[in-house]
Symmetry: C2
Subunit: 338 residues, 2 copies
C-alpha cells in the first residue's frame, strides 16, 4: 500500500509541492481557486500529512511528554493512586483541544528522559510528583518547556504548578482541632525535603502551635502513598488508643487506614476520625464519605498544559509559578468530640 504524499497531490492538481504545502499550512498568498483545487485533491486522494517529515523540518512534534512516577523503579506506573489518572485525564483533554498529543512513559525524570525528549522532539514535558533532586540535573539545559507539578525543587528554570500544601496541612489539622481533637496523628509518604508531604507536615505543626497543642514525634507516621501502606500505618495506630483523629496526606492513604481500622474495633468516624487530602473521586465513593482537603486536580492538569503552551508561544516570558487554592470538603469521616 503506497502512501499518498504531497507529491501525488501536486501531480493531480498540476501544481508544485511547494504550493500544496503552502495551502495545507495556510501560509503564503495563495489564490482562492488554487486553494480549493488543493483541498479537493486532498480529500479525493485521502492524503494525510506525515508528521515524521514535518517534525524533522520543524523540529517540533506536537507531542507533550508526561512523566508519571513508577510504583517501583522500572515497574508499572503509579496509577494505583487515582490522583495520577485524574490529572492525566485533564492533561490529555487540554492538550487534545489544542492540537497536541500525549506521550506517557515511566522513565525517571532524569538525564535519560532528556534524551528521550530530544529523540522525540517533544514540544513540552510535564513532570508529576517528586523525584530526588539530582534527577533534575541537566534538565535545565534543555530548551524544551518543562513544567513541574507538585514539586518543591525550585530553581527557577522550570514552570511550577502546585497548591498551597502548607496551608492545606494547616486547615486540615485546624478542622480536626476545632472539632475537639487534640491527639492527632499525621500519616504520610516519605518526608523528603522538597516534597509536598513535608509542606503539609509544616502546616500540621502550624495548627498545633496556634492552638498550643504539643507536637508528639511518635504521632508522625510515614510510609508510602498507597493503599497497602495506609493499611500498615493503621496497624501502628492500634497501639495508640488515645489518638482520636488522623490526618492523612493523601486520600488513597486514608482509604487504606479506614479499611484497616474498620476491621479492628475502631470504626470511622464513631471511634476515630480521619481526614484525607486530594479530594479524589474515591473520597466520594467510599463509605463513610471521606472528609478531605480538596484540590482541583482538573485545574492542575489544565494549568500544566497551559504553561507548556504559553511557553511555546511566548518563550521570552518569565517562568510561571502557579499556586492553586485548597479548601475543606466535608463528608462523614470526622466527628466532633466533647
Amino acid at each position: 500500500m503506497k502512501r499518498i504524499t504531497i507529491k501525488e497531490v501536486a501531480n493531480l492538481t498540476g501544481l508544485s509541492i511547494a504550493t500544496v504545502s503552502y495551502v495545507l499550512n495556510g501560509k503564503g498568498n495563495i489564490s482562492e481557486d488554487t486553494q480549493k483545487l488543493v483541498h479537493e485533491a486532498v480529500s479525493q486522494l485521502g492524503y494525510v500529512p506525515n508528521y515524521s517529515a514535518r517534525s524533522l523540518v520543524n523540529r517540533k512534534s506536537n507531542l507533550i511528554g508526561v512523566v508519571i512516577p513508577q510504583a517501583q523503579p522500572g515497574s508499572t506506573l503509579m496509577f494505583e493512586n487515582p490522583f495520577y489518572s485524574e490529572i492525566l485525564s485533564s492533561i490529555e483533554y487540554t492538550a487534545r483541544k489544542n492540537g497536541y498529543h500525549i506521550m506517557i512513559s515511566g522513565t525517571n525524570a532524569d538525564e535519560k528522559y532528556l534524551q528521550l525528549a530530544q529523540q522525540r522532539n517533544l514540544n513540552g514535558i510535564i513532570i508529576i510528583g517528586m523525584y530526588n533532586s539530582d534527577s533534575y540535573a541537566g534538565l535545565e539545559k534543555i530548551n524544551i518547556p518543562l513544567v513541574l507539578v507538585d514539586s518543591y525543587v525550585d530553581n527557577h528554570h522550570f514552570h511550577t504548578i502546585k497548591i498551597n500544601d502548607r496551608y492545606g496541612g494547616y486547615i486540615a489539622t485546624r478542622y480536626l482541632i476545632e472539632r475537639g481533637h487534640r491527639k492527632i496523628a499525621f500519616l504520610s509518604g516519605a518526608l523528603h525535603e522538597s516534597s509536598v508531604n513535608m509542606q503539609r507536615l509544616e502546616g500540621y505543626y502550624d495548627a498545633l502551635r496556634e492552638y498550643d497543642i504539643p507536637a508528639e514525634a511518635k504521632r508522625i507516621l510515614t510510609g508510602q502513598i498507597n493503599f497497602e501502606s495506609g493499611m500498615r500505618l493503621a496497624e501502628q495506630l492500634i497501639d495508640m488508643p488515645d489518638v482520636s483523629a488522623v490526618f492523612c496526606t493523601a486520600d488513597i492513604l486514608a482509604i487504606g487506614v479506614i479499611k484497616r481500622l474498620n476491621s479492628q474495633e475502631r470504626i470511622v468516624p464513631e471511634r476515630i476520625s480521619v481526614i484525607g487530602f486530594d479530594n479524589l473521586n474515591i473520597a466520594h465513593y467510599c463509605i463513610p464519605g471521606l472528609t478531605t482537603v480538596g484540590q482541583d486536580v482538573y485545574k492542575k492538569g489544565e494549568a500544566a498544559v497551559n504553561a507548556v503552551l504559553n511557553h511555546i508561544n511566548h518563550p521570552e516570558n518569565a517562568k510561571e509559578e502557579i499556586s492553586l487554592p485548597v479548601s475543606i470538603i466535608e463528608r462523614e469521616s470526622v466527628r466532633t468530640v466533647a
Copy 2:
C-alpha cells in the same frame, strides 16, 4: 543550541555517516575498533538520534497508540472508571520493556483515528472498549497492527483480547443463586449488540435458566458504566423490596449502587447483596469489600501489547484471538439467605 547529529559523530571519528549509522543500528559488518571509536564519540558529544528522521525513512515510530473511550464525545477520558487506568498501566509497562512508547488520545476509534495513526506512523493501535460498529469502518484497510480489547465486533481483521464475558455473567449469577437468592437484579451499561454487557446478560440468563428461575424484564436495569449511574440505578431498586441481590456488570457501578443503598435503609450485605465485575483495586478498598467476578486486567493489557508486537515481528501470522479466564473473588458484599 545546535543539535548534535550523526554528521558531527562522523566528523569527529573521521568516518562516514553511513558507518556511524551502521554501528548505531548494529547492522553490517563493522570492525570492533571502529565500533568502539563511534561509541566513544557518541558519548563524548552526547549524541542522541532523531526519531523523526528515523521514522521518516523506516516508516515506523516505536509508538503505540491507545484509544480510550471518552466520558462524553469530545470530553475527558473515561478515567473515572479505574479499569482504564489499570489497563493503561500494564500496557505502558509492557510497551516500555520492549522499547515502545505510548501515545494516548481520546479520539474516536474511527476514520479520523486512522488518519492520526498514519500521520504519526504508529506501529500499533490498541482500542479499548466498545464503539458503535461503523466507527470501525475503514479501520481494516490500514496495515497497522490493530487490537481490540473487550469488543465483540468480530470481523477477523483485528486481533482481539477479551475474557469470557458470558461465562463471567453466568458464574456471578450462579454464585448468588447458590447462596439462596432468587430475585436477582441485573445492572449494567447500555446493552449494545456487540458489548460485553450483552454477553454478561446472556450469562445471567443462562444461570437463571439452569435453576429454573424465571427472568423478569423489570429487573434488568441499564444506565452507564460510572459511579453516578450506579447511584441512579440504585434508586430504582428501592421500589423493588423483593430483590435480595444485584449483579452489576462493573465494579464502579457496584460501588455507586452500594453507596446509594447504604444511604437508604438497605445496608450491604445485611439487607441486600451485591456482586460486581472486574476486580479493580477499589473492590478491595471499599467497605464492605466487594465480591466480584475477577479478571486479570494486568494480563489483558500485556496481551494487547504482545499481540501488537507479534504482528510486527510476524505479520504473516493469523490474527490472535485471546480469551482470558475469569473467576469469583469472594469478599463481604454477598450474604447467604435462607
